[in-house]
């Protein structure tokens, strides 16, 4: 069952909108069983949500601004980095927080309408936290690939119609 679960999750990870009948056929279990597996994985929080990867530049005049911020912090006794990480990830404009090895501690990804908005977040919210020692903000200039998806208009099938 474990193997089927992994296959199921990989299919959903690739396309969250794939229909259940297709999944069931592909992993060779019944539709009912597939539904149950999904429900269980949702209840276990193995599946946390279903989101859509959007190329906003196709829709909006001006795309949202994304920044990656390297944050150095002082870990707190007992809770290490977790407490300060939580303080940061609770902000809705924060899209991702990772604890990193190397020159800084937390990598924080922030989205905002404008550069000003992000600058304000850094100077007013982030830098002012007691445990934050320093921040370095990098603005994203162009998105080439995100979550494994390449941001172009897709590759066409270059094969000829019928071959032996």
């Amino acid at each position: 069952m474990k193997q089927k679960e992994i296959e199921l999750l990989e299919l959903l990870e690739e396309n969250a909108r794939i229909n259940i009948e297709s999944i069931a056929k592909m992993i060779d279990v019944s539709v009912e069983e597939t539904k149950k597996m999904i429900e269980k994985l949702e209840n276990d929080n193995a599946i946390l949500g279903y989101s859509t990867i959007i190329n906003w530049s196709k829709v909006l005049e001006s795309e949202e601004v994304t920044a990656m911020i390297d944050v150095k912090v002082t870990p707190a006794r007992g809770v290490g980095f977790d407490k300060v990480a939580e303080r940061i990830y609770r902000f809705p404009e924060v899209k991702a927080v990772y604890l990193m090895s190397g020159a800084y501690d937390l990598s924080v990804s922030v989205e905002g309408k404008t550069m000003m908005e992000i600058s304000r977040f850094v100077s007013e919210k982030l830098s002012t936290l007691d445990t934050v020692i320093s921040t370095t903000t990098h603005f994203v200039l162009k998105k080439y690939k995100h979550d494994g998806v390449i941001f172009d208009d897709g590759e066409d099938d270059k094969r000829i119609m019928v071959t032996p």
């Binding site: 297709s22 056929k25 592909m26 094969r159 000829i160 119609m161 019928v162 071959t163 032996p164």
Partner: protein, 389 residues
Amino acid sequence: MTIQGTSYLSKTVESLKPSGIRRFFDLASKMDNVISLGVGEPDFVTPWNVIEASYHSLEQGYTAYTANSGLLELRKEISHFLNKHYSLDYNPENQLIVTVGASQAIDLALRAILNPGEEVIVVEPGFVSYAPAVTLAGGNPITVHADAEKEFKVQAEQLEKAITPNTKAIILCSPNNPTGTVLNNEELGKIAAVVEKHDLIVISDEIYAELTYDESFTSFASIVEMEERTILISGFSKAFAMTGWRLGYAAGPVSIIEAMTKIHQYTMMCAPTMAQHGALEALRNGESSVQKMKRSYQQRRNFVVKALKEMGLDCHMPGGAFYVFPSIKKTGLTSETFAEKLLHEEKVAVVPGNVFGSSGEGYIRCSYATSLKQLDESMKRINRFINNI
């Protein structure tokens, strides 16, 4: 004097029938918005690390010929690969030759062993090139028909019946194109006994070996006593999604590989150098890509077989390759008519089974190496088509 008509052509070439695939390709390519299940190649692009390695070799200036039998480094990797996966033992120095696709390896093998008039047993439904390749090499192809009742597994007794004093070799292909059928260890063992008894050679086309889904693959050469009688044919096209690179290989007894190399050196020199460098990377670091593609094919196979069965078509579960070979007999149409009408009415291209030999009549070959979205849509269209007949 001008050269006109066919009077100047080789009688042998003239005797070859044009490929039915070619005719179907001409039909399909004139139409728009066709979903093609007619493609005999992966829908994946070659893994990026392979492409990148080939770029790098060009940047480094590796643009000259290689040794006739291919880069020794590559032959060593192939030898290692065959050993690791199929427990085979080939000396890269003189038991391996790198060719321009598996197709060239088949041609070389036949030309290396055949004298005029000698017979080669070819199993049908089978790959369209075998019989013409035998004819072009001066031999006589003798057809044995694998039985649909036996999931298109050719039986050792059938092969034995077709053997005459002129029989030189048998061409086997497992997993098979177009049926997807895989011959297991036991079935190959029975064939091996016949081969041994009648002192034959087997040309074993194992190009789809890595795409075997339900049980582990057995190479014919790994059957006891068979390594010395087998010319193993394989390549990079299918497992590594490298069809256009045209890179294959053959492994076999020293004397045969040397004879093949002799032909190769006079007619081809060597396989393309940049492709060989790509193949080197494929063997060294391609395993995870192959596994990923394999799993995706397997899921799509399950999907298509179930969908076909749901619409009431008989279809055995193929153990390998990326084809299903359902029966369309219950529609009352011939393979050709079915495929042609399906193309015109529902814009789905499949290959009529009879192009793979007369025993393919009543069947169609559908390749499931296409996106799930397209597969899903094509199954709906085929279902609608069947219900409207």
